[in-house]
């Protein structure tokens, strides 16, 4: 593959970066192992989105096209009522962008780990990276420093995640109305996310962020263009950071090392 756009690198680091991209069987298996428990929830969520697409009136072909090309459940769900209401296409596009805006933040977190890959690989990796994948990956590799098997671990998370979503979604498209909404199968996806969130709440700062984000998401639920989700993520991050800095200040004061600057 021709490398059109990867970052220029100092020559001596090229060898270290090879270990990031080189296939590493153990890391791949680790990714698989960490991701497998989420697949049931992912598939259930895909199923719910598949059913919703068909119930909105999309044909089977259109719904298949949407799940395979768009691959963004929350944006798809947000677009369906707008399609029903015959909203202008730019409103649908704007709503999808806002719903997806958290992915810009996620890409800023993940991309530096793989900046040396060819641009097509980077594009595809970014395109298929969902919420849970980012959380699981960042837990295992919090630092951007090159480490053996990073790419294999990411792929071990990504490929099964993509397959589970598509299988669930396609099943939903063909089952359509055979799955009653009151079964609440999508709740399985919510429970999977809950399990991933629990270990992330490792300190007071993270707990504050999660609580603020949750409260804002509920309070701002009715905002247009699904702005509530974006607002929740931003305010959650700000609050977490504020608590982190406050506790760092208190810590310094307690240990008597406070500077006058």
């Amino acid at each position: 593959m021709i490398d059109l756009g990867s970052a220029p690198l100092p020559a001596q680091s090229a060898a270290t970066l090879d270990i990031v991209a080189e296939h590493d069987e153990a890391a791949w298996r680790d990714g698989l192992r960490d991701g497998v428990p989420t697949l049931f929830g992912i598939g259930a969520w895909g199923l719910v989105v598949g059913v919703a697409m068909v119930k909105t009136g999309l044909t089977v072909t259109q719904a298949l096209g949407m799940t395979l090309l768009v691959f963004a459940g929350s944006a798809q769900l947000a677009s369906l009522p707008l399609i029903l209401a015959h909203a202008p296409i730019w409103v649908i596009f704007a709503t999808a962008l806002v719903v997806n805006m958290r992915f810009v933040i996620f890409s800023a977190l993940l991309a530096p780990h793989f900046a040396h890959l060819p641009w097509r690989s980077r594009f595809l990796l970014g395109y298929v990276t969902g919420d849970m994948t980012v959380a699981l990956f960042m837990q295992r590799y919090p630092s951007e420093a090159p480490a053996r098997g990073k790419l294999s671990y990411l792929k071990g998370l990504l490929y099964p995640n993509w397959a589970a979503w598509q299988i669930g979604s396609i099943a939903g498209i063909f089952l359509g109305s055979a799955v009653p909404a009151e079964w609440g199968l999508g709740f399985a996806g919510t429970l999977a996310i809950l399990c991933i969130t629990v270990p992330l709440v490792a300190n007071w700062a993270a707990l504050t962020g999660v609580l603020v984000a949750g409260v804002v998401a509920v309070a701002a639920f009715d905002l247009p263009y699904k702005l509530g989700l974006l607002l929740a993520v931003l305010l959650g991050m700000f609050s977490a950071m504020a608590v982190e800095e406050l506790s760092a200040t208190w810590h310094r004061r307690d240990s008597g090392e406070e500077n006058n600057d």
């Binding site: 990867s6 989420t38 997806n100 992915f103 996620f106 800023a108 900046a115 594009f123 429970l191």
Partner: protein
């Protein structure tokens, strides 16, 4: 809406996915993120996940539903406790779904 309209919508939705998810993967090395912002971004995944699940767990339609009458809330609390104790996601999802479905069918509260 015509078939073409729907495919145009699918097209712009795909662009919205690519533009956001692949953004920093494609142009990230041209942008330097300040250290403080980088530190803040570490909290983004947890905040995003919380923001996604909170409305599903705490709301019924578009209004807040706290208390015993909300089967998802009770199931989520039970599932969280179960996960903290057992650290097994698959079992937690099953327990949560059983509690949720049980409460929903039996109208316990």
């Amino acid at each position: 809406m015509t078939d073409l309209d729907i495919w145009l919508i699918i097209g712009v939705l795909a662009i919205a996915t690519a533009a956001t998810r692949s953004s920093f993967w494609l142009v990230g090395h041209h942008i330097t993120i300040p250290k403080r912002v980088q530190e803040m971004l570490r909290y983004a995944p947890a905040c995003a996940l919380a923001a996604i699940i909170a409305p599903d767990v705490l709301m019924n339609g578009s209004h807040l539903q706290l208390g015993l009458g909300n089967p998802k809330l009770i199931a989520a609390v039970v599932a969280s406790i179960f996960y903290v104790l057992r650290r097994d996601m698959l079992q937690t999802i099953l327990v949560g779904m059983v509690v949720f479905t049980g409460l929903r069918l039996l109208h316990v509260f």
